[in-house]
């Protein structure tokens, strides 16, 4: 494997590991805030015990989120040095603001959350808990503003003197519609994750006949918060689809395995087997109109197919070659205003021209054949996207159903009545993580071959370090993270099994 593949593998592995812990932190922090609010309002000790017990599990998970997050902040520099140079002027800012506004908040108040029960008043401690929750959610906002810019790079332009992208409109970067949609979708997914975590563990206690009061109260909170969040994930997941339709047409065409443009409104393919060689999808089962409505919010706009998008890419690439050629002249004659005007005319497609670098270093001499190859390389991995998306959405609908039932039983005070429901809740435990990791794959693997869509191909973003170095660090991270994950899961299951009684040393009559 070359350095590009190794670097991508390392980024994917470390991001996927990191994302095992972050969604649970997002969801549990809010659930802790809700439970502690109930404690402060009712004054009932059991609610404080709920906060402390779920807090222990939160803490173990939080530590893993912090540990794996350190790598993410520095990996752009270690492994994606050219990317860091090329877009750091834009991309670095939200990362720095994330540290200033969000990480300090969550990391400072997490200390008070655990250590200051006896040093703060009830209200003060409640504020600390909510500030912790606010911090975790703000960090999701800023990292998704950064990620949203990679998906839809607004508010920036290429500067020939510095050979990089530079900010022209910071407000456009902040209020990027893709970032907004991603933020709501991602935090909602985190809330679902936290709610399933609480629901499933509580259901297990009810099945075992332990900690009944504890478990029922936990389930009531998880059911209502989980239902709202599960609806939000799907509804606002649709919002992600809509914006992808505007600026990441290729991603949505690949998710649909839609090789040819269909007459509007396009149908949604429920099932099919994408055939990569023949550019067609076999055994399709289609639902008419749905895709067109989701992706364009209209019944008359066309959703372009993969083959048409590849044709369009050829035009962009040819224009990108002109941009690259002119850029070389501008750099040789920096004072020539006419050359700069000419560059401005083509520079929007410079990123497409750079796609050719994978096929020949001297891209200014690219042939029609090279351009065709580069255009074909804009097709992401169709079967992986097609199936990841369908499993993610299927799991999302299952969450809505499960939480709706849980909500109904909790309203009727029958949470411990049906063992089949409790078993369903327990067995749902791993599904949020499956859906979330699949969501990452759809969003980021589906962004390929781009690091920043239309601006910088992933393959060019890597550092100039040696492949053996990256192989070494990749293996190191995998072994290291796996060992930590084993310790993490061991501790979590130990405290879950012990239950609140022993974990937080309750008085004997507490439950």
């Amino acid at each position: 494997m070359d350095i590009v593949e190794l670097s991508r593998l390392q980024f994917a592995a470390t991001a996927l590991y990191h994302f095992l812990f972050v969604p649970l932190t997002l969801g549990l922090s809010i659930l802790l805030g809700i439970m502690e609010t109930v404690y402060v309002m009712t004054g009932k000790a059991i609610w404080k015990q709920l906060v402390q017990f779920w807090g222990v599990l939160f803490g173990i998970n939080f530590a893993m989120g912090v540990a794996t997050g350190i790598t993410m902040e520095f990996q752009f520099g270690t492994n994606w040095a050219y990317y860091s140079h090329y877009v750091g002027d834009v991309f670095g800012a939200p990362l720095a603001i994330e540290g200033l506004m969000a990480f300090f908040l969550e990391a400072t108040f997490v200390g008070l959350f655990f250590f200051a029960w006896d040093r703060l008043s009830k209200i003060q401690h409640l504020m600390a808990t909510w500030l912790l929750a606010l911090g975790t959610n703000l960090s999701a906002l800023w990292i998704l503003i950064a990620n949203g810019w990679m998906q839809y790079p607004v508010g920036a332009r290429f500067n020939a003197d510095t050979m990089r992208m530079e900010v022209t409109d910071f407000m456009a970067v902040l209020f990027n519609p893709v970032a907004q949609a991603k933020f709501v979708h991602t935090v909602s997914a985190g809330y679902v994750c936290g709610s399933v975590f609480v629901l499933a563990i509580s259901a297990m206690y009810l099945l075992q006949g332990r900690y009944k009061e504890f478990a029922k109260r936990s389930m009531t909170v998880a059911a209502s918060f989980g239902l709202a969040s599960a609806l939000s994930v799907v509804v606002l997941g649709d919002e992600s689809g809509y914006t992808a339709g505007q600026n990441q047409k290729m991603k949505i065409a690949a998710i649909e395995a839609m090789w040819d443009t269909e007459p509007a409104p396009a149908s949604f393919t429920l099932f099919g087997l994408p055939d990569l060689a023949a550019h067609k999808t076999n055994y399709e089962i289609k639902v008419p109109w749905v895709l067109g409505l989701i992706a364009t919010r209209s019944s008359d706009q066309v959703v372009p197919g993969i083959d048409q998008l590849v044709d369009q890419a050829k035009g962009h690439i040819a224009n990108g070659v002109l941009a690259y050629r002119t850029l070389q002249q501008v750099r040789a004659h920096p004072k020539d205003a006419a050359l700069r005007t000419e560059l401005d005319a083509h520079v929007g497609d410079l990123g497409y021209g750079l796609l050719l670098k994978r096929f020949r270093p001297d891209i200014e001499n690219a042939t029609a054949d090279d351009i065709a190859k580069a255009a074909a390389s804009t097709i992401p991995d169709v079967p992986v996207l097609f199936w990841s998306f369908r499993f993610m959405v299927g799991i999302g609908f299952w969450f809505i159903a499960l939480f709706a039932v849980a909500f109904w039983f909790s309203a009727k005070r029958q949470l411990d009545r049906y063992r089949s429901f409790l078993w369903a809740a327990v067995l749902t435990f791993p599904l949020p993580w499956v859906a979330i990791e699949l969501g990452w794959i759809v969003a980021e693997y589906g962004r390929q071959p781009w690091a920043v869509v239309g601006v910088l191909p992933t393959a060019l973003g890597v550092s100039s370090t040696s492949a053996s170095n990256v192989l070494f660090s990749l293996l190191g991270f995998v072994i290291f993270y796996s060992a930590l994950l084993v310790a993490d899961i061991y501790l979590l299951q130990k405290f879950i099994r012990l239950g609140p009684q022993e974990t937080i040393e309750l008085p004997e009559d507490a439950t």
């Binding site: 540990a67 902040e73 750091g88 200033l100 400072t108 008070l112 050979m163 370090t465 993490d488």
Partner: protein, 375 residues
């Protein structure tokens, strides 16, 4: 001075302030971890050591994360060149830092002795490795590292891990380690109790002496290293392209700034004075702690003042060295980020102060033995 030049100067100062923030705030808990196996002999003593930083280390570590983010935003070429150039060293730092959150959180969750001993040494590694490697990295900046850029501004370099581990850089690594251990000992002298506090007080003396000797040696050695100097006039508000200047090496070059501006010696006095005062004031641990914070502050300021305007000199292609004048973000990004720092950093400092006030007072054996939430 143009606006762009002023912004670059401010961001150079902010880079120093953030590094000092990291070394002062995260420094004492790295130093605490480095001392853990030595000042804590029994399990309860070790838990006292860990719980002195338990409620605050996570917030402190954000200074490191913020440092990375701010360098990315304000000095993207420095971020790219340093972290990819020092690849294996940085991976080593990351690996040991990753052990810390797990070490703090997981260690006391099980009663098993081998489990606890393992995490004690993991925390120890998480303390000494970053403290030493950052010093080694600074040492290499003074010597210059072999890198350059092609026409697309893609970096090429022949930096190797063994090349980084040269005698002068290793000496700088020891300076950094002794500085962090000194500051950590001062923290334990302030925050711990019983035998741990007494051992920490003794450790302050040894680490203080080591720092003074090593820092002096490094300073004398620095005089033997050729410094870097920009040849001729260079626009201070030009585009961030490090290939437009000429740089030469001059004997005693790193002392040029302090020769021109003797007031810079104050940074040196701060480092030495911080050690002396902190050691003398050990019986007044709060004041000693404030004085020991001067040590990392003075040391980093001394190094930064000597290097200015260089950020990362290149030994193989000196003209490609990264400087304050040609490695920054655009003026718009620098201005926006300055606004963010001015608005948000005071708020951060305010609530951090509140947290330290809430958690004030020494950590005693009874605090860790009677609590289910203590680490």
């Amino acid at each position: 001075m143009s606006e762009y030049e002023i912004l670059r100067l401010i961001w150079w100062a902010l880079l120093g302030i953030l590094l000092i923030g990291f070394a002062v705030m995260d420094g004492f808990d790295l130093g605490t971890a480095a001392l853990l196996p030595f000042v804590g002999r029994t399990d309860t003593e070790r838990r006292i050591v860990i719980n002195t930083v338990g409620p605050v280390w996570e917030g402190n570590q954000v200074w490191f994360i913020l440092g990375g983010g701010a360098i990315f935003a304000a000095w993207p070429m420095l971020y790219a060149a340093s972290f990819s150039g020092f690849y294996l060293a940085m991976i080593l730092v990351l690996a040991t830092l990753i052990l810390r959150p797990a070490g703090f959180k997981f260690r006391s969750k099980l009663e098993n002795t081998r489990w606890r001993t393992f995490w004690d040494w993991a925390l120890f590694a998480g303390g000494i490795v970053p403290a030493t490697v950052f010093g080694v990295a600074f040492g290499n900046l003074f010597e210059g590292v072999p890198f350059g850029f092609d026409g697309d501004m893609r970096m090429h370099s022949t930096i190797s891990l063994l090349g980084l581990l040269n005698p002068f850089a290793l000496l700088c690594g020891l300076v950094s380690l002794s500085m962090i251990v000194f500051h950590g000992a001062s923290w334990l002298n302030y925050k711990a109790s019983g035998m741990v506090k007494m051992r920490a007080s003794a450790a302050m003396l040894y680490a203080g002496i080591a720092f003074v000797v090593l820092f002096t040696l490094a300073g004398m050695w620095l005089g033997q290293i050729d410094g870097y100097q920009i040849v001729g006039a260079m626009a201070h508000d030009g585009p961030s392209n490090p290939l437009l200047k000429t740089v030469t090496r001059v004997p005693h070059g790193w002392f040029a700034n302090v020769s021109a501006h003797p007031a810079l010696l104050l940074t040196l006095f701060a480092a030495y004075g911080g050690v002396v005062l902190a050691v003398l004031l050990r019986r007044f641990p709060g004041y000693a702690m404030l004085c020991s914070a001067l040590v990392p502050a003075g040391t980093i300021a001394t190094a930064g003042a000597a290097l200015f305007p260089f950020l990362m000199p290149s030994s193989s292609e000196p003209g490609a060295s990264l400087t304050v004048w040609d490695a920054s973000s655009s003026s718009l990004t620098l201005a926006i980020m300055l606004g963010c720092v001015v608005l948000m950093l005071p708020v951060v400092i305010a609530y951090t102060t509140i947290v330290y006030r809430v958690m004030r007072g020494p950590v005693k054996a009874s605090d860790v033995e009677d609590s289910h939430s203590a680490y």
